[in-house]
């Protein structure tokens, strides 16, 4: 009854006792997969330790892992770390939220209405290539030297990319879903709210996850000028005294917080959009 369905050809498969880890696109045991993720950093850490232990480089250029850990401990016990982290997290959250609150509606509108895409896309695409660091003087002029300036920088670093990505998330949904909504008699605004938004939401959530990562990377830039506290500030201050252990600790710590944020978004996305998982 069918002309174009091909039966899969019988390829004689010989089961190899040991599966190769370097097969193209082949699944490997998940234990090996996750272990591999630890092995590489561990190797790096080991060579770092070895290089400093054997005295190949001066501590000024590369302090030992122990020194970095000690520096972390010092900051923690003196209370600096918590103070820095809380102010920085506050700035990140507010800056990212502000960007998101504006980017979501704009991205959704751009994704649904060609006229809005036409009028905003060229502008946003241009602005997003402008270096945010260059905007520091202007941001100070506009918002002073308080928290607002840092938040503005984080906003600028996040917003433009984010709105374009959300536009794409919205555009990527299946046109037939919209058509199905039309044939079922739903109005445009109902289709937008009840079909387009839920259909695009896993993609939008993923955009959130990616963009908050970018907000983290802008932290040092945001705290470059006129800040007395913050994880980024601490790094810039350390530069003055050539305190490389402080610099390294601060950098790694920001990376760690970024990783944690990523994880939180990934996990919450999985439970928010359980319907989106492939598992049978």
């Amino acid at each position: 009854m069918n002309n174009h369905v091909h039966q899969p050809e019988a390829i004689p498969t010989r089961h190899k006792p040991k599966r190769d880890l370097l097969e193209l696109r082949q699944e490997i045991p998940s234990s090996i997969f996750s272990a591999a993720g630890f092995v590489v950093p561990a190797l790096l850490l080991f060579s770092w330790w070895l290089v400093t232990e054997l005295g190949f480089v001066r501590p000024l250029f590369l302090p030992s892992p122990q020194a970095v850990v000690m520096e972390g401990w010092r900051q923690l016990s003196e209370g600096v770390l918590v103070a820095d982290a809380s102010i920085s997290i506050y700035r990140i959250v507010v800056g990212w939220l502000a960007a998101t609150i504006v980017a979501v509606p704009i991205g959704i509108l751009m994704g649904n209405y060609r006229i809005i895409e036409g009028s905003l896309e060229p502008l946003i695409s241009t602005v997003r290539y402008m270096p945010v660091v260059a905007l520091i003087p202007l941001s100070i002029l506009w918002t002073g030297i308080g928290d607002a300036q840092k938040i503005l920088i984080l906003f600028l670093g996040t917003f433009f990319q984010q709105s374009l990505m959300i536009m794409d998330n919205v555009k990527n949904i299946d046109m037939n879903l919209i058509r199905a909504g039309q044939t079922l008699g739903f109005s445009n605004s109902e289709i937008l709210r009840r079909i387009i938004l839920p259909a695009a939401s896993p993609g939008i959530w993923d955009t959130f996850r990616i963009t908050i990562g970018w907000t983290w990377t802008y932290l040092v830039v945001a705290e470059l000028v006129a800040a007395s506290e913050g994880l980024g500030r601490r790094i810039m201050d350390a530069q003055r005294y050539l305190a490389t252990d402080t610099i390294l600790f601060g950098t790694l710590f920001i990376g760690l917080l970024g990783l944690l944020t990523d994880y939180v978004f990934k996990k919450s996305g999985q439970s928010l959009f359980r319907w989106n998982s492939q598992t049978r």
Binding site: N2, H4, N176
Partner: protein, 267 residues
């Protein structure tokens, strides 16, 4: 062939459709005239790009003809409406809704009482053989099962016309056969007029009262053929002499068309 005296259910009256592609006109459909009777099952076949989807979309009100008119029960089509149900080739289900809520969503605009809706949803879940999967999400279903949800969703609000655009195109041969039988059964139980677009000539003949072959570049009707095979049909009819004769004729038409298009492309 179809000069029925009764008013046609669907009248496709000198319909043409021209798209603009990069400011150049592209004649997708030149001129098509088809009258479809109430409860008729019509299959539409033709080479790729001959305008089958375009035609179906226009009947569905998702697209507008550039010339001519489509009337349903004598009323010109002016957009999508709940007298028509649509089943697309891609499983266009609402993935964030369960099987049950997907189907129920289609009833949201009806004025029925809640209990009646619940009953209707349950009835259609059963009719398409998805009992036990009410609370599954589309991602958890196989292709055939998803398309059964789509069929139930398109029928639950009792449209009088069902438009199907290659609904089984992505299914394997076995599943496809099962779906065809299921569709015929549902069609016999809930009388609706069906416009069924397919690439598969066997499928077209097996299902339909009438097969329309479209010619391409630009699209127009090449053949309009009544299928006089008894109903209910079972799968063994595909080996009947009558079935094979229809098949041979339609294949010849499609082959001729394909060759003509290939020659045009070479020129």
């Amino acid at each position: 062939m179809n000069q029925t005296l009764i008013k046609p259910k669907v009248a496709i009256d000198s319909v043409g459709k021209t798209f603009r592609v990069n400011a150049m006109p592209l004649v997708a459909i030149e001129r098509i005239d088809i009258n479809i009777r109430e409860n008729e099952f019509v299959s539409i076949v033709g080479t790729s790009g001959c305008g089958k989807s375009t035609l179906l979309n226009m009947v569905g009100g998702l697209d507008e003809p550039t010339s001519g008119e489509i009337r349903i029960d004598g009323v010109p089509v002016a957009g999508p409406g709940r007298n028509r149900g649509f089943v697309f080739q891609s499983y266009s289900l609402f993935e964030w809704m369960t099987v049950q809520t997907n189907i129920r969503f289609a009833l949201e605009k009806s004025t029925m009482a809640k209990a009646e809706k619940t009953e209707l949803v349950a009835h259609f879940i059963q009719a398409v053989g998805l009992s036990g999967f009410e609370n599954a999400y589309p991602r958890q279903l196989s292709g055939g099962m998803r398309q059964r949800v789509a069929i139930a969703r398109a029928l639950v609000y009792k449209p009088s016309i069902l438009l199907m655009d290659e609904p089984f195109g992505a299914l394997d041969a076995q599943t496809r056969g099962m779906m065809q039988e299921l569709l015929l059964k549902v069609w016999e139980d809930h009388k609706v007029t069906v416009l069924f677009v397919t690439h598969d000539v066997d499928e077209a003949i097996f299902l339909a009262d009438r097969v329309i072959v479209l010619a391409s570049r630009p699209g127009r009707v090449k053949k309009d053929m009544d299928i006089k095979l008894g109903r209910p049909r079972s799968f063994d009819i595909v080996t009947d002499a009558a079935f094979t004769a229809y098949k041979r004729e339609i294949f010849a038409d499609i082959r001729e068309e394909t060759l003509r298009v290939m020659a045009m492309e070479r020129a």
